[in-house]
């Protein structure tokens, strides 16, 4: 197992952090960028994944399984959220006949 450890150590932690930040920002930008709510949901998933990556990297760095367990829970929650989200989306499509985020502006003021 030793080579694995060294292999992990070869990539500095900062790079993982940076990568995670970049992915997170891409997701964030996408959420602002698009009108299609489904894409926005996907961007959110991307953000979750960037966090997962970060957690795993830290977990490996600390050699602590807790982080990975957390990632597992994140995935569960993400799955549940997606389920609910898509259900809401479907309901909304039925009512609004659109998944355009800009169409949702009856509640305001």
């Amino acid at each position: 197992m030793e080579p694995v450890v060294t292999a992990i150590r070869q990539v500095p932690l900062e790079h993982y952090v940076a990568l995670s930040f970049i992915l997170f920002s891409i997701g964030l930008t996408g959420a602002l960028f698009r009108r299609n709510t489904i894409i926005i949901l996907m961007c959110l998933e991307l953000m979750f994944n960037s966090v997962n990556l970060l957690l795993t990297a830290f977990s490996a760095h600390h050699s602590d399984p807790g982080g990975q367990v957390f990632v597992f829970f994140t995935m569960l929650v993400a799955a549940a959220e997606v389920t609910v989200g898509l259900a809401i989306l479907v309901m909304m499509k039925r009512n609004v006949d659109s998944v355009d985020i800009n169409q949702l502006n009856r509640l305001k003021g």
Binding site: L32, R35, L104, R106, K108
Partner: protein
Amino acid sequence: MNTTILAALVPGLPLLGAIVIAALRRSLKGNSAGLLGTLAIGSAFALSVMLFLGHDPAAGPYTAHLFNWIDIGGMHIPFAFQVDALSLTMMLIVTGVGTLIHLYSIGYMHDDARVSTFFALLNLFTFAMLLLVMGANYAITFIGWEGVGLCSYLLIGFWYTNPAYNYAARKAFVMNRIGDLGFVLGLAWLFNVTGSLTFTEVFDRVAGLGPDVLTGITLLLFVGAIGKSAQLPLFTWLPDAMAGPTPVSALIHAATMVTAGIYLIVRSSVLFELAPFTQDVVLYTGLVTALVAATIGVFQNDIKKVLAYSTVSQLGYMFVALGLGAYSAGMFHVTTHAFFKALLFLGAGSVIHALGGEQDIRRMGGLKGAIKVTHLTFLLGTLAIAGIPPFSGFFSKDAILANAFDRSPVLYALLLGGALITTFYMFRLYFLTFWGAYRGDKHPHESPAVMTVPLLVLAVLSVVGGLLNLPHVFGGHEPMKHFLAHAADGIGAERLHLEASTEWMLMGLSTALVVLVIALAHGRFAKKATLDPEADELPFLPRLLARKWYLDELYERLFEKPYGWLSTMFHRVGEGWVMVPLMNGAGRLTQRAGQVLRLAQTGNMSFYLFAMVAGIVVFLLMTLYGR
């Protein structure tokens, strides 16, 4: 009877009279109210005489302590009366002249529907006046001071349906109030430096005070005196005050209330003696007022207005006396003036009564045959005020002139000039009223006895009043001066030193000139009755005088109009444009902010997301670099 109770009864009886008459005013029919009122004052007079007789001048003032009025912290103001020479003099004048005027009023006000109210007020006035002169401290004096002002207001506006009378009443009250401003401040200052307002204590403590403080205090007190005694620049209310019934003019606006300022200064003579600057101010104010009022008097056509200006002028003389430090001379003139001016007013009232309300001398004339008693007494009064020996006015005025001469011949000359003008307009009044042909249309009739008897009594007093203070040159001992000297150290400190020959010369000069002026007046008014037209038609200088030097107009432009304007502006601009909009504006601004911020809630979710991200970025930067 105990002196304290006696002293308390003197103002107490008029008060009681006022209350009783006011309470029973609807059940009092006919003359009963008048009789009650006269009785109350008469008893007060009797008690005053008793006090006077029982008073030992050498023993100093007697203090009648009733109860503690204001007692808080270091301020102990007792409700107490002081009986001494000065207050006794004033008490006798007030109650004595007051009784006569009350009696007179029974006849004068006989037909008025509100005669009971009138007598109640008159009694109330006497009460207040007595408080003024009897108070053992400045606070009690001030109670009376304001009280007489109030009664004056009520009596001037007695015939309330006439708006002009109401205005005159209001003017009198407000001008008095302006004077009171000075009085109150003076008292506050005085209390602050001496810790007391009781006369005896104050006078003991003032010696150590600096001249600036004393000058300030006395000037403030003098402002009060100016208001009450109708001196420049606050005299314009007094002529207007003639709107009241004539007995009121006689009692309040001639004999008693207006002399309150003199009384105050005489009472405070200790202070004034220590403040020479103030004495000069008093002197010159009195001088200017005496002259200005006299000049105005020449062109007046209302019988009461002439008398009013003469009152103002005579008060000026009194102030001159006080300014010269001749307190007893001032008080002497107060006394004689009370006699002859009351007499003149009552006489004028009798004339007005006789003519059914006519007051314009241009519509009189030739009355000496129709109303003989009135004529006679009026003549005596006129002679007294003109200063013909041996009438009382001669002695009192001469005392003042002598004192003035002692100070400066110029002063003497000016005052003598004023006296001559006085003689001129008084005789103009007299001749136009009683001589020549009758120019009116009503049938004149003599007044009832209830009115003429007081006239006669006053006439006698006007004639013999000079005896009260007969000077040495006539073999007298100036009894009044010596009597008063016991009241306060200041009064005793007079310093007139004239040769007897100089005095004789001065008297001769003034008498001669007066006689000359009378002759002039006789020629001008007795035979042909030269009548002045309305003021507007006069040439400039007489018009200026007839229009009272345009002082009323000046005050109106300078104070009344701007005040009304200020009131409107404060309300419109201060409240309407600033205060209320400020308050509403704060609310409206908040609402506007709410309205604007509300727009942020667009309902658009992209915007929400964007705002969240923007917020996060900003706060992130703040967190990282904000500290």
